[in-house]
């Protein structure tokens, strides 16, 4: 049996040669680090000493209020941003659809621009927008007679402010993806629906959305993964504050590893994050995955 397998592999060796360079990099820069992370999560590892402690790191995590808070915040942030992103992307895609290509391209580029801008720069700009004393947002608040708000200083406003920022700045790549997917939907589907007297809403809900489902699924999974790991905006704008109201797992992993030098615990946190994302991916594929044929 084994001989047959080896024979078959040998016959198909050209294919393996093609895959080999990619697999080597994948092994070196992904599988080994992940494996090392799994290994470290069972140790008390503080850079200086390494001691096997079994599942203690995981037990400590789930009894640590700060980790649970970070977990809750990460869910809040992800489930705040991803639906808004998708909603915005769908709306913009549908609104752009009837226009000629040059206009579509212009707007797609416009929405995509933040995607190619450093998240650090974006965060710096929004720090000024949210500045409680001299910020743009509070300037508008005052000009319409409202009280100033410490957007990033108030524990009730900080997370919604970050979600709002991410909603405004994000979603560009999803718009490009959805536009491409929508362009591939045969035109006669829409024409037939119109001839049958379907309203715009009906066309959107019964034709556009179902046919875009695979792309929406992809965007949802990628958006969930990206936002679940959010770090740079938290690091630059709030450092997890005020009162830990914006602390996320990504930021907590960073501070635990590189400020507290507790790499074992940080690895355990990463493993929990990895597990949650894997479950998300599975659920999303299971519930939303379907083949679409035009």
């Amino acid at each position: 049996m084994a001989v047959t397998v080896w024979k078959r592999m040998w016959k198909q060796r050209a294919g393996y040669y093609f895959v080999l360079p990619h697999f080597a990099f994948y092994l070196m820069f992904f599988l080994i680090p992940v494996g090392w992370g799994v290994y470290l999560s069972f140790f008390k590892y503080d850079v200086f000493t390494q001691r096997f402690i079994g599942f203690d790191n995981f037990v400590n995590l789930f009894t640590d209020w700060l980790f649970l808070k970070a977990l809750g915040n990460t869910f809040l942030y992800t489930f705040g941003v991803v639906p808004l992103w998708l909603g915005k992307a769908l709306l913009v895609t549908v609104l752009l659809y009837p226009f000629r290509n040059s206009i579509k391209t212009f707007y797609k580029a416009l929405f995509y621009l933040p995607h190619v801008t450093s998240s650090v720069i974006i965060s710096m700009i929004w720090l000024w927008v949210f500045n409680p004393t001299y910020g743009l947002l509070n300037y508008f608040m005052r000009s319409v007679g409202l009280e100033k708000i410490a957007w990033l200083g108030n524990k009730f406003f900080a997370m919604p402010s970050l979600i709002f920022m991410q909603f405004i700045m994000g979603g560009g790549s999803t718009i490009v993806l959805l536009s491409a997917a929508m362009a591939s939907i045969p035109e006669y589907y829409f024409e037939a629906a119109k001839l049958e007297g379907a309203s715009s809403w009906k066309v959107f809900t019964r034709i556009t959305v179902p046919l875009l489902k695979p792309t929406i699924l992809y965007a949802m999974i990628m958006g969930t993964i990206a936002n679940f790991q959010t770090f740079s905006n938290i690091y630059i704008m709030t450092q997890g504050g005020p009162e830990f109201s914006t602390i996320t797992i990504g930021y907590l992993v960073y501070t635990t590893a590189f400020r507290d030098y507790n790499l074992g615990l940080a690895s355990a946190m990463s493993m929990v994050m990895f597990g949650i994302l894997a479950v998300f991916g599975f659920i999303q594929f299971k519930w939303l995955g379907s083949n679409v044929e035009y």
Binding site: N131, P132, T133, A150, N154, K155, G241, Y254, T255, D260
Partner: protein, 448 residues
Amino acid sequence: MKTRKAVVLLLVLLFSVSLLMGAKMTITWWINPWRIAPPGFPSDQAPTSEDFPKWASEEFMKLHPDVNVEYVVVGNQEYAQKMAASIATRTQPDLFKGPVWDSRWAKNGFLEPIDPYLTEEELEDFYEKILDEGLIDGKRYIWPWNFGTNGMGTSMLLYTPDFEKAGVDWQKIVDEGWTMEEFVDIAQKLTWDTDGDGENDHFAISFGAKDTHNILNFLYAFGGQLTNADETQVTFNTPEAVAGLQYVLDLVNKYGVAPKGVEALGVYDVIGNFHAHNTSIGFGGPYEIGRITRYLKEGRISEQFYPVIAPFPHVDGKDPVAYTSGSGFVIFKQQDQAKRDMVFEFVKFLTSFDNLALLETLNYLTASKAVNATLYQNDPYMNEQVATFGRIMGEYGMPFFGSQEFPWSQMDKFFISALEATFAGSKTPQQALDGFVVEGNRVLKQMQ
């Protein structure tokens, strides 16, 4: 035939050169951004963080042609991360100067004690406070370089035109200090409505919850203590500490002399407010005066101005307090005696009389008493500010974050959270500091 010979010759040459190169001893060092102007640097330009380490490395290599010196400028934000990764992978530099220090490095045998290389003269000349910064189990691990930090938590900066406009004698404050009551009175005079819309938009001072040094000063000034004497308990929730925090809160909410939104601000917001003349009182020492000049050269501000250094306010009948620390070069363990000697030779080169004096270009005080006596001779304004700064640190200086053993870095996030809660109004100063003490003691317990 000729070509073959030439190729063989070239290969031999390359081999010889590589052998020679291989024979060179390599010293690697890391430094965080210190914008020191090396000798001969154009005075109309702002030095970058690369200029000094590049110059120092090259100069040392000229003195020691058999040594190759490689430097890396590591940003303050990523320093801890890079250092942790390098220690974990055992790829740490030979020596470094950075914003990070962990006593566990020394305790785990990663560092070279500097004592065998310190001469009697150096021991006499370096400030004791700085020598003791790296004192672990009776051995010293930090080779002194600078005295004091940027001055956050140490002293205040007064924008004198505003004081004169408000009819306040700033010279008296510089010379004699000010009580907490006098501070409130003066701060009220320095708060006004510039654009006439009925709302104050110019304030005496500003605070940031993430700018712990300056707020900590008030907690200590009222008599608060971070820990008990043997550092086994965090005690920053005593009535004195609470009174200090309440005072700062009152400056914002009760007296309105500092802008609201402290919970959302950090140190650079506070600095920005001072640079933009939105506030009349800033924080810091000579380095922060240098920042004004640097920002002007970099085009980040449009006007040069000359604030004066003054002490923080004090409780009537008590002295003010000032955060004092020093820092220097840390040498990682060397296996080879010759290399160890050369690394220390390089450290001594970096901290030689002339090279220490280069800190003047950054408006920093040095770790050497002899060098400090020669600084700013041609600049009466800076000479006066440095003298005031030195006096404040000398008379009122104290550490803010416990001893080298104390795990402040693991509990500062809880302190910041306490400040955020206080200024956001979600907790009283007492509740906020109680919460910090609980978390601080939890960290201490974990460490034990």
